[in-house]
Subunit: 261 residues, 2 copies
DNA sequence: CCGTTTGGTTCCATTATGTGAAACTTTGTC
DNA sequence: GACAAAGTTTCACATAATGGAACCAAACGG
């Protein structure tokens, strides 16, 4: 109905407010949120009350500011442990990182965008969570394209609509048709490249993590720089990455069964 | 109205459903949730649809199961960066961990329970997020008691009501009055101990992180085992922990101000 | 000390939204 | 092919969300 297209129902709106609070990098005042002009005063106020009462937001009475609440952290912890690939994939990422010495990314699809779920850094160990939770574009990253390539038709259509197709570099595929052609190539060869499409000098080789039914439940990539290596050298690792992706997929599959068959 | 007492409004109910999914440790079927008898079929169905559409849940069409969605992970990242003490405290935790070689905990209060926000492990670096989000009891942990001791009266009363006072070990303070006496002692000396009150052999020295107005915004502890050290040895570090807690408090205070005064 | 602005909270008539029993469709089983 | 179990859609109804406006409380400013 609405021009927005998303945010259906009261719940959707409330979650919108949550996102509004989350998108600020610090605790926010009521008026700051109001100034975004998304909801009228009384409505916004009620949502903040409800969310606070529910523990999804926390209210600092000293400052009159709202921040994300502890219930959210608890839910997130559960989400992490339960739904994402990360806990399963962790040892495999370690393995791949040790083997290649390069940066490793594990990502999942989040409504047309790429969510980096875990990461291993080439040089020194990096705090995991500082990286996890970052979102990036799908159309111009290795992991993004690897997952897009295995999306069912309607899901792909919806995802493509959400792409900005901003031309980050000279190599960025900035039209849906160019991307579709690339996706076909990816399906044919089973893995994706990032040919400096997102950032200058950054290249990667990415592999989808496929469920038994062929859906992309995530993607795994080895990333490096043009200064350190070449695309061909990365491609040489593709089979190994596919191996590991397959192992992760298999474990994810069996793990999802209820205790009883 | 409801016997439950909470879950006000549509948003509350939806979040309830989220919790229902979260409380199972794996992906759940529609019928499993339905069997809990909380909501009628159509209602539950609609909530699951909405939450899935919103990315708070993810639906696996192969299995027909719901799990917590990736949007939560994204929100968690924001929560981490924004509201908790963690980003501020991180370097200090590192410092303290390096200095003591012991396990360090950073916690916040969550409705009478303790939420572990960050952790440093004595032996090898531990993945942060795997630890964060864990909740524990307040009445029998060092960080819990340190925070309880600085709670305003009514908040303390409410918090005490929420304590189970389960007797985990022979040392557990298992009555409100015993705990209140202990809290007075903690206020007097400025730090708290855990004398194997939660787990056998686990001892700690914990310090509240106090805002300028005297509210406990968190707590910091150095934890060890009776096999490795003594309470007296831990107490020797108390001043150092207090120092660091004060630094964190100060930085947290200034950090909360908007860019302009 | 009192008008004024700014930021936050409450009211309440209106109406959009959520509700859930029941009907229906699909999928799996014997 | 009939039966059951699981999942999806419908629709008359009632509850719950909506948001303009009024209200309140500090913080200003003269």
């Amino acid at each position: 109905m609405g021009a927005e297209g998303h945010a259906d129902g009261t719940v959707g709106k409330a979650l919108d407010v949550l996102d509004m609070v989350a998108s600020q990098s610090r605790a926010v005042r009521f008026s700051e949120l109001l100034a975004q002009g998304v909801y009228p005063k009384a409505t916004l106020y009620r949502f903040l009350q409800t969310l606070t009462h529910q523990g999804m937001l926390s209210y600092d009475p000293d400052r009159g500011t709202y921040a994300l609440g502890v219930r959210l952290v608890r839910l997130a912890h559960a989400a992490w442990a339960q739904s994402s690939l990360a806990p399963i994939a962790r040892p495999y990422l370690d393995e791949l990182a040790a083997e290649t010495g390069e940066t490793i990314h594990l990502a999942q699809m989040d409504l047309g965008q790429v969510l980096y779920v875990d990461k291993r850094n080439a040089t020194r160990p990096v705090e995991m969570f500082a990286q996890a939770g970052k979102v990036g574009p799908a159309y111009c990253t290795g992991v993004g394209k690897a997952m897009l390539a295995y999306l069912p038709d309607e899901a792909l259509a919806r995802a493509l609509e959400r792409q900005s197709f901003h031309r980050h570099t000279a190599h960025t595929l900035d039209t849906p048709s160019a991307l579709r052609a690339e996706l076909a190539a990816i399906r044919a060869r089973g893995y994706a490249f990032d040919r400096e499409e997102h950032e200058h000098g950054i290249i990667c080789c990415a592999v989808p993590i496929l469920s038994r039914s062929g859906r992309a439940i995530g993607a795994l990539s080895v990333t490096s720089t043009t200064a350190r290596t070449t695309l061909a050298a990365l491609e040489a690792k593709a089979d190994r990455i596919k191996d590991i992706a397959a192992k992760i997929a298999e474990e994810a599959e069996s793990w999802r069964f209820p205790e009883q068959v």
